[in-house]
Structure formats: structure tokens, C-alpha cells
């Protein structure tokens, strides 16, 4: 298991490198600047120590040497600061550009993912991959990497400098420091289960909050406020305990490692002072001061690195999630010399179509249908019986498992998706509008429509009167997914959108379900004109709207159980007849 996840991590890391490759110059520069920064930073205490060695006692201060050294320090400071700034700039550049590249690719992939994937996954979760995961991956990985790198360089550099000054004292530092790592690791191991408990309790609470606040109205209708609060408080009390434990024990790391650091510091002071005391030029006070500042710097990266490792792992996990999205199998790509559907009259033929969303649950089996230009096909059945499935297949949002769907004699898998979808005008039950102005939304299917065409379409869909009353009329900006418009209004806009581009075939999926029947009746006239001479597929709840269809498909539990005209089906006295008669029963 462990091994496998290591392998995965390695693979993910390789993919990450692919993205960074484009910025390898910046990466190299960043590394060089990091080395310069660290070296300069480490050299300053050496020089400071030398200065101190020339400040011994009254009358024993060598000003010319000191001034010379102070100049050197000044130059090194400037160098270090410049290198540090450049390093920051390089790191920012790499991070932000990689984020942009990854997001761009993820978004492009979303555009070609099969709808099956989009329907089957939580949108919130996918959005969080593109936004939160990418951020965390870039921050964690690149920042973590640069921290790790500087940390390592600092440790190595400090070691080198220390060894060059005094090996024995260096040994003191090297031997004691790992203790702080042990302390940190020990605490981290102990607190892991506490964090798990905290996050699972938190999850439990969040799910209760979600459920109750989303349905606050129901809670109030049943006067359940107090019961709900009681349940909430019970979880809340557990969360308090878990949270106290997790926070407290994890916050021990810092004092713990700091204590170890102070031991290192003391050790250096002790041994250093003893050396310096025994006199001579073996070890000077200045060198002691230099060592003391190293003792501080040397332990710091160790503490940081232990944090960085978890951050890196976390970042890799995020990267894995986002790559999983980017590498998700796209819809079958279109072959090179694929045909374009032209001159669509409205001949649609389905032959021996089999389809199901999941292999265990058979849905459509051996379905045959021949539709000639101008015919109306109505799809009826109780809610949830799979009426929308047919539309998914016609628009090629999903591919059939076997059999074929042909438009004008062409298998729809052998023509461009674009030309196929352009042939249909679609109004769905779930109205979707993009953030933008009303006008932009209406012109979606026909960007070059004239103002007059837009107005006519809106009028035909009976949307003009309410649009007119909006604050900025046709230029009113509506928020994401229609924002403040009512479902009915959104549906009217979707109808107007299709009325504007008038393709040769129509799909109306409960197109008027949220519109009151009076307005609907008025729209029907417009629909009738629109459907005239156009092959149309209509999914509807209301039997009255479908009686006049040429072919009625009756569906139940995903299967097509009856097929025929209104009269034929009534004579059959089957499911359709029952449905139809129940409308008049009491």
C-alpha cells in the first residue's frame, strides 16, 4: 500500500515537472539566487564575529580593520537583499504561471469531457479542484520546494562555515539538533489521531448544519428548532473537546523544539566559552558570537522542513486530484475527415438502440423509431422514467451502447458534433442562463442577430413584456444561473433563445413546466408556428400538450413500453390510456 502510494507520488511529481519545465530558466535562476542569499546571509555572522574580535577592550579597538569589515558587511547585505528579492520574483512567476497553465488545461478538459462524467460528479467538488486544489498545489509544492531547498542549503552552508571555524563545536550542534526533529515527529504522531477526531467531528457537524440550514423552512414549519439545536449542541460539545485537544497538543511542537534549540544554544555557549577561555587564537569571542547565531539559524530549517514535508505531501495529493481531472478520458474525438451535416430536413432514424447509464441497470433496449420531416414526437411518462435519456442520445450528449441513430441517413457518430447540435434547438426543463446581459443570453445561438430579430423572438416567447420592465431592459445583467429571475421567467428566456436561431429540428424538454398554463397557451401559438415543418421532440407532463403529436412514446422506469398515436394508444387500453384517463378521474 505504502509502496503503491509512493509510486503514485513519483508519477504525480513527474507530471508536475512537466509543467515546470516551461519555466526551467526561472527555476534555475531561483535556485542560484537562493544559494547566493543563503551564502551571503551565512557569511555576515562570520564578518560580525571578526569585527567583535577587533573590539577587545578600551584602547584595543582597531578602527581601520573594523571599518574595512563593516564595508564588506554592507556589500554582502546589499547582495543578499538583491538576491532574495530576485528569488521571490522568480518564485512568484513560476507559481502563478504554473497555476494558470494547469487551470487552463483543466478548463479545456472540462469542455470536452463526456456529459456522463459531468452529470456523475459533484460540480462543487470539481470546481474546488480547479480553484482550491490548484492553489494549494502550487503554493504548497513550489513554496514548499523553495523552502525545502533554502532549508537544505542553509543547513549545508552552516555546516560548512561551522566546520571551517571549529569542528568540535560543530559536533555539539550536529549531535543535539536531531533531538528537535524527534520531538516534532513525536508530537506530530501523537496529535494525528486528535486531528482526525477533530476533522471527523467537524464533518459531522457540517453535514448537520448543511441539512438543517438548507431546510430551515421545514424545521420551522414543524417547530423543530429546539430539537435541532439540542442535536447540534451535542456535537458542538464533542467538537469543543476534540478541538481543544488537537489545538493544544499540536501547539506543543513549537515550545518543544524551541526548548531543544535553547539546549543547542547553551551547549555551544558552554563548549565555546571553555575553548575561548583556554585562550590563544584557537577560538575567539567573535567566533563564539558567530557560532551562537549559527546555532539559531541551523536549527530553524530543521523545524521548518518537518512542516514542509507534510505540506508537500498535501500538495501532491491536491496535484493528483487536479491531474485526475485533466487526464479524465475525454469524449471520443472526432476523426479527421468527419462529415458535416448539411441541409437537414428532419429525418431521424433510431435503429436497435441499446443504452444504459450503468451496465447493471438496463434501460433502453432495442429501440426503433423513424421520424420524417415535420413530424412531432412526444415522450410521455411519470417523472423520473427516463424521458430525458432520449434527448441525451439525440443530442449525442451520450453515445448509444449499440445500434445507431441517424440524421438524414448519416450516423450521428460520423458527423461533427457541432453540425449535429446546430441542427437542434433545445429548451430544457432546467433553465440555464449564463452570467451576462439578457441580450447576450438571447443571442447565444445566433451572435449576429439584429436588434429587430432579438425583439421579435422575445415577443414571440412572451418574454418581451417582463424584460422591458427590468431596470436596464435588454441590457440588464443577470447573475450566474439567472440570478434574481424566477424559474418561469428564465424558461421564457430559454424559449426566446431558441426562437431566435430557429434550427431545423426542435427538442423541448418540459419546456413550459414552470410557466403558468395561461402564458403557456399563448406561447403555444408561437411554438406551433415554430414547429411547423420542423421535426420536434417534446417531453411533457401535460397530456393536453401532446395529444396532437404524430408519434407518442410512453416510457416507464426507463423503458419505452408503448409507441403510437394518441388514438392508437387509447385503443390499446394500456399504460397511456390509464394515464390519460386518470387526468379526468377524481
Amino acid at each position: 500500500m505504502e509502496k503503491r502510494s509512493k509510486k503514485y507520488q513519483a508519477r504525480t511529481l513527474k507530471k508536475v515537472l512537466k509543467y515546470i519545465q516551461a519555466y526551467r530558466i526561472f527555476l534555475a535562476l531561483s535556485l542560484i539566487f537562493a544559494v547566493v542569499t543563503v551564502a551571503a546571509t551565512l557569511y555576515i555572522p562570520v564578518l560580525t564575529g571578526r569585527v567583535i574580535d577587533h573590539i577587545v577592550a578600551p584602547g584595543q579597538v582597531e578602527f581601520p580593520v573594523i571599518l574595512e569589515l563593516l564595508w564588506q558587511i554592507g556589500i554582502i547585505i546589499a547582495l543578499a537583499a538583491l538576491a532574495q528579492w530576485l528569488m521571490n520574483v522568480c518564485n512568484n512567476k513560476i507559481t502563478y504561471e504554473v497555476v494558470q497553465d494547469v487551470r487552463r488545461e483543466a478548463f479545456a478538459r472540462i469542455q470536452i469531457l463526456p456529459l456522463k462524467f459531468i452529470d456523475g460528479h459533484s460540480h462543487g467538488e470539481m470546481v474546488s479542484r480547479v480553484i482550491a486544489d490548484v492553489d494549494q498545489f502550487a503554493d504548497g509544492l513550489l513554496m514548499g520546494f523553495s523552502q525545502l531547498f533554502t532549508g537544505l542549503v542553509t543547513i549545508l552552508g552552516t555546516l560548512l562555515f561551522m566546520v571551517s571555524i571549529n569542528i568540535k563545536i560543530t559536533l555539539v550542534v550536529v549531535l543535539v539538533t536531531p533531538v528537535s526533529l524527534f520531538v516534532a515527529a513525536f508530537i506530530a504522531r501523537r496529535t494525528f489521531s486528535m486531528f482526525m477526531l477533530q476533522s471527523s467531528t467537524r464533518g459531522e457537524q457540517t453535514s448537520l448544519i448543511n441539512e438543517m440550514i438548507e431546510n430551515q423552512k421545514v424545521v420551522q414549519a414543524f417547530s423543530k428548532e429546539e430539537d435541532v439545536l439540542e442535536k447540534f449542541d451535542e456535537i458542538n460539545a464533542r467538537l469543543e473537546r476534540a478541538s481543544l485537544n488537537a489545538t493544544f497538543f499540536s501547539s506543543l511542537t513549537n515550545p518543544g523544539t524551541r526548548f531543544v534549540n535553547s539546549l543547542v544554544y547553551t551547549g555551544v555557549a558552554l563548549v565555546g566559552a571553555l575553548f575561548a577561555m583556554s585562550g590563544g587564537a584557537v577560538f575567539t569571542v567573535g567566533q563564539l558570537s558567530c557560532f551562537l547565531s549559527y546555532a539559531n539559524q541551523y536549527t530553524k530549517p530543521f523545524n521548518e522542513i518537518s512542516g514542509v514535508v507534510t505540506e508537500l505531501q498535501n500538495a501532491l495529493a491536491c496535484a493528483e486530484r487536479i491531474f485526475a481531472l485533466i487526464e479524465e478520458e475525454p469524449q471520443i474525438s472526432e476523426p479527421e475527415n468527419v462529415k458535416t451535416l448539411t441541409d437537414v430536413k428532419g429525418n431521424v432514424d433510431l435503429a436497435h438502440v441499446y443504452f444504459s447509464y450503468s451496465p447493471e441497470k438496463k434501460l433502453i433496449e432495442d429501440f426503433n423509431l423513424n421520424v420524417r420531416p415535420g413530424q412531432r414526437v412526444a415522450i410521455v411518462g411519470p417523472t423520473g422514467c427516463g424521458k430525458t435519456t432520449i434527448i441525451n442520445l439525440l443530442m449525442r450528449f451520450y453515445d448509444v451502447d449499440s445500434g445507431s441513430i441517424q440524421v438524414e441517413g448519416e450516423d450521428i457518430r460520423e458527423v461533427t458534433r457541432r453540425s449535429l447540435r446546430e441542427s437542434y434547438g433545445m429548451v430544457l426543463q432546467e433553465t440555464w442562463l449564463k452570467a451576462g446581459t439578457i441580450r447576450e443570453n438571447l443571442k447565444m445561438g445566433k451572435p449576429d442577430a439584429s436588434e429587430e430579430e432579438v425583439l421579435n423572438a422575445a415577443k414571440a416567447a412572451h418574454a418581451h413584456s417582463f424584460i422591458k420592465r427590468l431596470p436596464q431592459g435588454y441590457d440588464t445583467v443577470i447573475g450566474e444561473d439567472g440570478g434574481s429571475l424566477s424559474v418561469g421567467q428564465k424558461q421564457l428566456l430559454c424559449i426566446a433563445r431558441v426562437m431566435l436561431c430557429l434550427p431545423p429540428m426542435l427538442i423541448l424538454d418540459e419546456a413550459t413546466s414552470s410557466i403558468d398554463t395561461r402564458t403557456e397557451m399563448k406561447i403555444q401559438n408561437a411554438f406551433a408556428t415554430m414547429m411547423n415543418g420542423r421535426t420536434s421532440f417534446i417531453v411533457a407532463h401535460r397530456l393536453s400538450t401532446i395529444q396532437e403529436a404524430d408519434i407518442i412514446l410512453v416510457m416507464k422506469d426507463g423503458h419505452i413500453i408503448e409507441q403510437g398515436s394518441h388514438e392508437e394508444l387509447l385503443l390499446k387500453k394500456g399504460f397511456y390510456a390509464e394515464l390519460y384517463n386518470s387526468q379526468f378521474a377524481v
Binding site: 560580525t48 569585527v51 567583535i52 573590539i55 577587545v56 577592550a57 578600551p58 579597538v61 573594523i66 563593516l70 558587511i73 537583499a81 520574483v89 487552463r104 478548463f107 460540480h123 470546481v127 480547479v130 480553484i131 467537524r202 457540517t206 448544519i209 448543511n210 430551515q216 414549519a221 414543524f222 435541532v228 469543543e240 478541538s243 481543544l244 489545538t247 493544544f248 515550545p255 526548548f259 535553547s262 547553551t266 555557549a269 566559552a273 571553555l274 577561555m277 551562537l292 411519470p382 417523472t383 423520473g384 458534433r417 447565444m444 444561473d481 418561469g488 403558468d516 398554463t517 395561461r518 402564458t519 397557451m521 393536453s544 395529444q547 390509464e578 394515464l579 386518470s582 379526468f584 377524481v586
Partner: protein, 577 residues
């Protein structure tokens, strides 16, 4: 943010002790350079081995005391923060429970959920950080300066100049970059919006083959984001190098001054080392402080958002029981529900959603409410259990104004089935018992029978004990609708409201349901909201709404004769071509 601090009230002790112990720890840290300086000036110069050993023991002791202090401080801080979080969470959740529908509509559930979860978590960790660090860092910075004064006034003056200069740089960079970070966030939200939109609208976007256009829209958003990120990045990239230059520049000056002072005998070598040490302590703390301030700004922003929700007053305050007995005499009235010239406008809406609604319903009657999209059907029935307050006129139940009932008593009388069929996580039995906490299985089955939902329960393994997933995801729309109807029936309400709640049922089931409800014992007064005339045509009374006003009241036959709106609705559903 300020009014959240009351939730720390029970943790006064912790809030004082945590920073206090942190300051103690810091004080011990500040002594260390003095000890080192003593080692150099006394121990090394006098070659006093014992003195050096003693001083090192002192340092270990200082470290140990520091450790104890700091652990104590962490404990108190964690305790106060966890307690604070818990209390705020409770207060906010309890507060949301008192919201009337108006406030819920206004705030939006998604917002409320974010406030309850991530905002509180951020604030909680902010409190924790503040207690631990907010006093410590300034204390070390100024403490270092004070210690410098005890060593040498002239050298200390360098600290007096350096500290404000550093603060200026650190806080200056932050003052510039924090508002810019907010802009980055805005642009990120935009990118997020486009992503979400493209997922929810995938069908339409593909149907209109807008993929390329959407890609370039996304690209534009991305580039704006990256540009802003780089812009802020360039500014904050200055922070570290500049502070580095200032501190080390100050060290150079310090060394030179130290050299002069040592030369004239005012200072010793060890004291110069101590001064240099203090200077570097300041740098470390200032950087910590800068990070801390970022955390605090974030936490404060979250805190303010929480406060805003807490400050939202319920527009329907729970009033004390109006135990007016004289009033209850009138309950013998055979009029169950009476609307008297009722008008209702939603908060912030310009026009009234309902105006001059006036009708009375007798006990046991069935009332149909019909009308077009947005004609005010749901608003009307929501006034009965007082989900919203009327803005004109009054609603009377059994002769008593709904405002004079306690909400609990009022809602006990009313069983409502909402448009959106919602079930809660738990067993079917638990869900049904929302209607009546101590209902027996027999009562539950009775309600299920009436709601045509027995087959739903029988079809599930475990029957009444079958598990309902969150949101009732493991039931179909129609099944959920029937179960929510049963839930309302368990209570045997005096008034039953079905708000378009049979929409997912086919005509046959719908008809059977209505028949069963009419035959219920105790015969409740029923309001059926529907778009289809077939669902209400047998009602004793039908209220036809048109754009918030009553267009007609009467029976099916009467309305067909004289109400044009009703005729049109009916025709639209029954017209034969």
C-alpha cells in the same frame, strides 16, 4: 467583530493568563543575551570555568522555565479559543433558528452555512493566535529595546530609530498589499464563477457549441487574475529583503558605535555581542508579527461577517404568550381561516406580492388555490402558519390573529407540505415523527396510507427503520413527495396545506391522494395549491389568483361561468384541437 468578544466572557481568566505566560516566556528569552554577555565578559576574561558552568545551567533553567510558561500559555489559549468557537457556533446556530423566512431568504442558505463553518473556524484560530502571539511579539521588540537601554543609552538609540523604521516598512507593505489581495480574491471568484457555470450549463453550452468562446472568456479571467497576483507578488517580495537590509544596516551602525564605546571604556566586548543578539531577535519577531497580522485581518473579516448575521434581527420576534382567555372564547367560531384585506410585500421588494386578499374558510372545507407563475399562491398559504408577516390587514385562525398565537401553538395546528420535498438523514420513522414526536407505528401507517406512501415504505428493507440518506437521495422525487405528505399528516393537523406537493405524482395517484385526505377522520381544513385545475376542481372553494390579486372565488362550475382567468387556465389544460 467586537460584539463577538462577549463569547470570550467565560474565559477571562484564560485570556489574561495565556498572554501573561507568553510574556513571561519572552522575558526569560530576553535575559539569555545578558547571560551570554556575562559568560564572555566575566567567564572568559577571568578564565572562570565554574562561572561559565553556572551560567550555562542558568541558561538551561531559563529554557525550562520558558518551556513550562509557554506550554501553560498554549493550554490557556487553546482552551479559550475552543470555548470561544463552540459558543459562537452555538449562538449563531440558535440565532439562525429564530430567523423568519424573510431573513433566510435575505441571507441565503449557502452564506449561512459558510458563516457557520469556515468563518467560525478561521475566527477561532485567529483568537488562538492572538492570545499566543499578539502580545509576545511587540513585547520582545520593545523588550529588546529596553534591554538595550540597560546596557548603553547611545547604542539603544539605534534601536529607537530602527524599530519605527522597520514597523513602517512592514506595515506599509501590508497596508498596500492587503487591499490588493482582496482584488486577487475577487478575480479568483470570477474564475471560479466561470468554472461553475460551465459545469452547470454544460448541456446548453455544447448545444450552442460555445466551447471555444467559453475557453477564451475563462482565459481572459485567468490572465486578469495572474496579472494581479504578479502585481501583488512584486510588492510583497520587497518585504523580506528590505527588512533584512534595515536590520543588518542597523547592526553595522551598532558595531561601529559599539567599537567607539568600547574604545573609550563605556562598553565591554560581551555587551556588544548582547546588543547584536537583541537586534537579531527583533527581526525574527517582526516577521512573525507580520504573518500574524495577515491571519488576524482574515479572522477579523470572518468575524465581521459572523457579526453581521448575528445582528440580523428576526422580523418576527417571539412574543410572550398572550394568555388572553377572553380571546379563546371566540374559537367556537366555525370560520377556521379568515384573511381580512391582507397585503404582503417581501422585504426589499418594491411592489406587494399580494394585495387586498379577503376570504373566509369554514372548518373542514377544501380550498383550491390556483394561478399563474408568480401570482402569489405560495405566499398566500405561507401566511397561514405565519412564515411571513402580513404588511396590511390580518390573518385570523379560529377568530384569533395569527400574531397572537405563540408560533409553536400556531404551527402545531398546521401541517404543511412544501414544494420542495425534503427528508432528513435518519430512519423513515424518525422523519415521520417530525410531525408528532411520540407517534405510534399504527399512527404512522395510517398517515402513510392516506398519503399513498405505504408501498414506498413496504418496498424498503427495514420498513419504517429503513435509512434515509441526507436530502432523501435514496428516494425518487415522487416517493419523497408522498413521504413528506405523510409526515404532515401524522400530526393530524387542523389545517393541511399542500403547496403544489403532488407535482411529481401522476394523475391517478394524485386523485387517490385527494380522495383519501377528504376521508380522513377529523376532516382537516385543506388548502391545495396547484397549477392544474384537475387537482382542485372538486374543492369546496377555489381561489383564483392573478398577479397577487384575487381574480375570483367560487366553485369550479361558478368560476367556469364567470371568471375569465379561471376559464383560460382550464381551457389551456383541456383544450382539444
Amino acid at each position: 467583530m467586537k460584539n463577538l468578544l462577549v463569547y470570550l466572557k467565560n474565559y477571562k481568566k484564560e485570556c489574561v493568563l495565556a498572554p501573561l505566560f507568553k510574556m513571561l516566556e519572552a522575558s526569560f528569552e530576553l535575559i539569555v543575551p545578558l547571560v551570554v554577555s556575562a559568560i564572555i565578559d566575566v567567564g572568559i576574561v577571568n578564565k572562570d570555568r565554574n562561572f561559565i558552568l553556572q551560567m550555562c545551567l542558568v541558561m538551561v533553567a531559563l529554557g525550562l522555565i520558558g518551556l513550562v510558561c509557554s506550554v501553560t500559555a498554549q493550554y490557556f489559549a487553546a482552551k479559550a479559543a475552543a470555548g470561544f468557537g463552540t459558543r459562537v457556533r452555538h449562538a449563531l446556530f440558535a440565532h439562525i433558528q429564530t430567523f423568519s423566512f424573510s431573513e433566510i431568504d435575505k441571507a441565503g442558505t449557502a452564506t449561512l452555512i459558510t458563516r457557520m463553518t469556515s468563518d467560525i473556524n478561521q475566527t477561532q484560530s485567529g483568537v488562538n493566535m492572538v492570545l499566543r502571539l499578539f502580545l509576545r511579539s511587540p513585547f520582545i521588540v520593545f523588550g529588546a529595546m529596553v534591554m538595550a537601554f540597560t546596557i548603553d543609552v547611545k547604542a539603544a538609540l539605534i534601536f529607537v530609530v530602527t524599530i519605527p523604521l522597520l514597523s513602517l516598512v512592514v506595515f506599509g507593505v501590508m497596508a498596500v498589499s492587503i487591499p490588493l489581495y482582496r482584488k486577487v480574491q475577487e478575480r479568483l471568484d470570477k474564475v471560479l464563477g466561470i468554472t461553475r457555470e460551465n459545469l452547470s450549463g454544460a448541456r446548453v453550452i455544447r448545444a450552442f457549441h460555445k466551447e471555444e468562446e467559453e475557453k477564451s472568456r475563462f482565459e481572459e479571467g485567468l490572465e486578469r487574475l495572474t496579472f494581479m497576483q504578479n502585481h501583488v507578488g512584486k510588492i510583497s517580495a520587497f518585504l523580506n529583503p528590505v527588512t533584512f537590509v534595515i536590520i543588518n544596516g542597523a547592526t553595522i551602525v551598532l558595531l561601529y558605535t559599539g567599537a567607539v564605546q568600547v574604545n573609550v571604556g563605556n562598553l565591554t566586548q560581551g555587551e556588544v555581542v548582547a546588543l547584536v543578539n537583541y537586534m537579531s531577535q527583533i527581526l525574527v519577531e517582526l516577521i512573525k508579527l507580520a504573518n500574524l497580522i495577515v491571519t488576524i485581518t482574515k479572522a477579523a473579516a470572518c468575524g465581521n461577517r459572523i457579526s453581521a448575521v448575528l445582528e440580523m434581527e428576526s422580523s418576527m420576534p417571539m412574543e410572550e404568550e398572550t394568555g388572553n382567555d377572553a380571546e379563546s372564547e371566540k374559537r367556537q367560531d366555525s370560520i377556521m381561516v379568515k384573511f381580512s384585506h391582507v397585503g404582503m410585500a417581501y422585504q426589499g421588494a418594491g411592489a406587494e406580492s399580494l394585495s387586498d386578499i379577503d376570504f373566509a374558510v369554514e372548518k373542514g372545507e377544501t380550498v383550491g388555490v390556483i394561478g399563474g407563475t408568480g401570482s402569489g399562491k405560495t405566499t398566500l398559504v405561507h401566511l397561514i402558519p405565519r412564515f411571513y408577516d402580513v404588511t396590511a390587514g390580518e390573518v385570523l385562525i379560529q377568530g384569533k390573529n395569527v400574531k397572537e398565537y405563540s408560533l409553536e401553538e400556531l404551527r402545531q395546528k398546521v401541517g404543511i407540505v412544501m414544494q420542495k420535498a425534503v427528508l432528513f438523514q435518519g430512519t423513515i420513522r424518525e422523519n415521520l415523527r417530525w410531525g408528532k414526536a411520540d407517534a405510534s407505528d399504527e399512527e404512522l401507517y395510517q398517515a402513510l396510507d392516506t398519503a399513498q406512501a405505504r408501498e414506498v415504505v413496504e418496498g424498503k428493507e427495514g420498513k419504517l427503520d429503513a435509512f434515509v440518506e441526507q436530502g432523501g437521495k435514496n428516494f425518487s422525487g415522487g416517493q419523497r413527495q408522498r413521504l413528506t405528505i405523510a409526515r404532515a399528516l401524522v400530526r393530524k393537523p387542523e389545517i393541511l396545506i399542500l403547496d403544489d406537493s403532488a407535482s411529481a405524482l401522476d394523475y391517478a395517484t394524485d386523485a387517490r391522494l385527494r380522495k383519501a385526505i377528504r376521508e380522513m377522520e377529523g376532516r382537516p381544513t385543506v388548502f391545495i395549491v396547484s397549477q392544474r385545475t384537475s387537482s382542485i376542481q372538486h374543492a369546496d372553494k377555489i381561489i383564483v389568483l392573478d398577479d397577487g390579486e384575487i381574480a375570483g372565488i367560487g366553485t369550479h362550475e361558478e368560476l367556469l361561468k364567470c371568471c375569465q382567468v379561471y376559464q383560460e387556465i382550464h381551457e389551456s389544460q383541456y383544450k382539444r384541437q
